[in-house]
């Protein structure tokens, strides 16, 4: 034990894994978004099903039901999002002519076909968000089982929508060491689980690569409003501050991404929705924004940084 604790296998320049190399944000090759807009606005809306019988281990994703089985209270609170809350979000986005990326659990496709129709009708991007919020991806998952979970999720979404599904969000942002490779092998082009950047970057994924998309965790509505118990006014201030900083940085360093991670069971409640309306109205008043889906941002990034990608993914 003592030997182990004083042995440092990875103690050298660089990181202690091989998914990507260290890269400082101010040293990145500048990105130029369409129309010369400094900030890409990426709105993600989670469409989730929280099962009553979700296991507590290896971990519960944020929002997982935790009041003891059968937790009808939390169940119906989360379910409110798919029944009521998301339609409030749609009204706000429709009013500003904005589209979102919907991160959809396969279980939600089967349960709420009408909701999926409304998402597709709006030309939102459909991204895969795993089977349901009780099936997290984690280190002890056998690769063969995880592959089946990814395939079932992808097939459920593509069959229901007829759309190609290129983006992946793991439930609760959990991954195994195989997740990225399995996603790449199944045709996914980006994953939105890692929370370590404000810009897209490329990760190695087995024999290929996959784009890591910068989905905010700290500013996610469920983190700020539910986990950290902040007010919606505080949420509003913090998102607008992030926008201000990213817009300012873009003048010197090139295009930035402002992501909003929205949960219909959080921001879709009546006491909160008006804040989303104010945030987006305020952001859209400036002409600094390129509103885009996740795949549009990933494609634009990859189109501009071929050389950089090759460098980053050298073994």
């Amino acid at each position: 034990m003592t030997d182990d604790r004083l042995t440092y296998r990875h103690r050298r320049r660089g990181l202690d894994h091989n998914w990507f190399e260290y890269e400082a944000i101010f040293g990145r090759a500048p990105l130029a978004w369409p129309g010369g807009r400094p900030v890409a606005l990426w709105i993600s809306v989670a469409v989730e099903f929280f099962p009553l019988d979700a296991p507590a281990l290896p971990f519960r994703p944020l929002g997982g039901l935790d009041r003891g089985y059968p937790d009808f209270w939390s169940y119906s609170n989360r379910d409110y999002g798919n029944r009521i809350g998301i339609y409030r979000i749609m009204r706000v986005l429709d009013g500003l002519g904005l589209r979102a990326t919907a991160a959809v659990n396969a279980a939600a496709v089967r349960r709420f076909p009408r909701l999926i129709t409304e998402i597709v009708r709006r030309d939102w991007e459909i991204a895969a968000h795993g089977l349901d919020m009780g099936h997290v991806h984690h280190g002890a998952l056998a690769a063969v089982d995880e592959r089946a979970m990814i395939e079932e999720t992808r097939d459920t979404l593509t069959q229901a929508t007829g759309l190609a599904v290129k983006g992946w969000y793991s439930p609760g942002r959990g991954e195994s060491i195989d997740t990225l490779r399995l996603l790449c092998e199944n045709g996914f082009e980006y994953a939105a689980d890692w929370a370590n950047d404000d810009l897209p970057y490329m990760m190695k994924a087995g024999a290929g690569t996959i784009c890591a998309m910068p989905l905010t965790h700290e500013l996610a509505d469920r983190v700020l409003l539910v986990h950290h118990n902040r007010t919606v006014e505080d949420y509003e201030r913090q998102v607008l501050e992030a926008f201000h900083v990213l817009e300012t940085e873009a003048e010197r360093y090139g295009g930035r991404v402002l992501s909003l991670s929205l949960s219909p069971w959080v921001i879709g409640y009546p006491h909160r929705i008006v804040a989303l309306e104010r945030i987006l109205a305020s952001i859209m008043k400036s002409d600094a924004v390129w509103p885009a889906t996740g795949i549009a941002i990933a494609d634009t990034y990859k189109g501009q940084t071929g050389r950089q990608i090759a460098r980053n993914t050298q073994a």
Partner: protein, 317 residues
């Protein structure tokens, strides 16, 4: 049950609640409240008795500290000695009648409070017997006995026929909703998927979910999550404004759950006055009890809603 093991789900557990169909906010029948009101508002004080020494083995500890947890016991008891009277004064001042989520043992322990509720013209509905007696793990017969006792006790002390139910301390069994219509209960507030009443699927009879709230509940917001009274009041008023606006197109329900041991403190009671002033100064608000909302809904809108429900439910039973 094998809860807690990675990837393991016990086959006997429900995945879906399976109690209602998917009826999205868009495309649903229009609800019209009495007098053309946009919003039906109801206040739900939880008037509760917590035992100092409740039985063990209920699946979770009832008190954070070992017996006698006099600090936490007295924090609850504050509600009955002080908070409830302040809360009653506030509601009476703004002519808001409440529907009380009542632990029936209050009738035995502190009948003065129950009699005052009756004098104020408030509705009493069942919140079980004690807040320290969960229904979790009870058999159907035991659940029937507990709820039947609560209904009989409330009727004996108040003359009221109990129409509504909220499980004590938000405990549940898979089937307790099926038993409510058998006992004469017509609405529950244990399911909160909507801002309008929702028809529920039960074994026999009819049952609806009248909207309640975890989101603006004083105990959750101020008691557990530590928001200030001003922040709570801002939330409740924002909730009201949104549902009031939406209610012009399709009538909405807003419930304001209260706990005398939370909102009834001197440092918080002004927030309640603030909220009540906001709610009662608008036209087009129906200040109702939960029973009145349920009665109106059954009479005018229940059948309509059934016609609108998807054939494929959000989790079929």
């Amino acid at each position: 049950l094998r809860r807690g093991e990675p990837g393991e789900r016990a086959v006997s557990m429900l995945t879906d609640a399976g109690r209602y169909d998917y009826l999205p906010l868009i495309d649903r029948p229009k609800i019209e409240w009495p007098g053309g009101a946009s919003l039906a508002f109801w206040a739900a004080p939880n008037i509760e008795f917590y035992e100092l020494d409740p039985p063990d083995g209920q699946g979770r500890p009832l008190w954070p500290r070992p017996y006698p947890d006099i600090l936490n016991y007295s924090l609850r008891d504050y509600g009955n000695r002080a908070g409830v009277w302040r809360m009653m004064e506030a509601l009476e001042r703004f002519n808001v009648r409440a529907s009380v989520s009542l632990n029936a043992a209050m009738c035995d322990h502190i009948p003065d409070i129950v009699q005052e509720c009756v004098r104020l013209g408030w509705e009493l509905f069942s919140h079980g017997i004690y807040n320290t007696r969960l229904i979790s793990g009870l058999s159907e017969d035991e659940v029937r006995t507990v709820i039947g006792d609560s209904i009989a006790t409330i009727r004996r002390h108040s003359g009221q026929d109990v129409a509504g139910f909220l499980a004590p301390a938000i405990s549940a069994t898979e089937t307790f909703l099926d038993l409510l219509p058998e006992l004469g209960i017509r609405y529950t507030v244990d399911m909160m998927p909507d801002d309008q009443p929702v028809p529920l699927k039960v074994r026999s009879g009819r049952l609806i979910a009248v909207p309640y709230s975890t989101e603006i509940n004083d105990i959750r917001v101020m008691g557990m999550r530590g928001y200030s009274p001003d922040e709570w009041a801002a939330m409740v008023k924002a909730c009201f404004d949104q549902l009031y606006r939406e209610g012009k197109d399709n009538g909405t329900v807003m419930c304001m759950p209260l706990h005398p041991f939370v909102v009834g403190h001197p440092h918080r009671i002004a927030a309640l006055h603030d909220v009540l002033d906001h709610v009662t100064s608008r036209d087009g608000v129906w200040l109702a009890t939960a029973r009145e909302i349920a009665d109106w809904y059954y009479e005018r809108h229940y059948e309509d809603a059934l016609r609108f429900c998807d054939v494929v439910p959000g989790g079929a039973r």
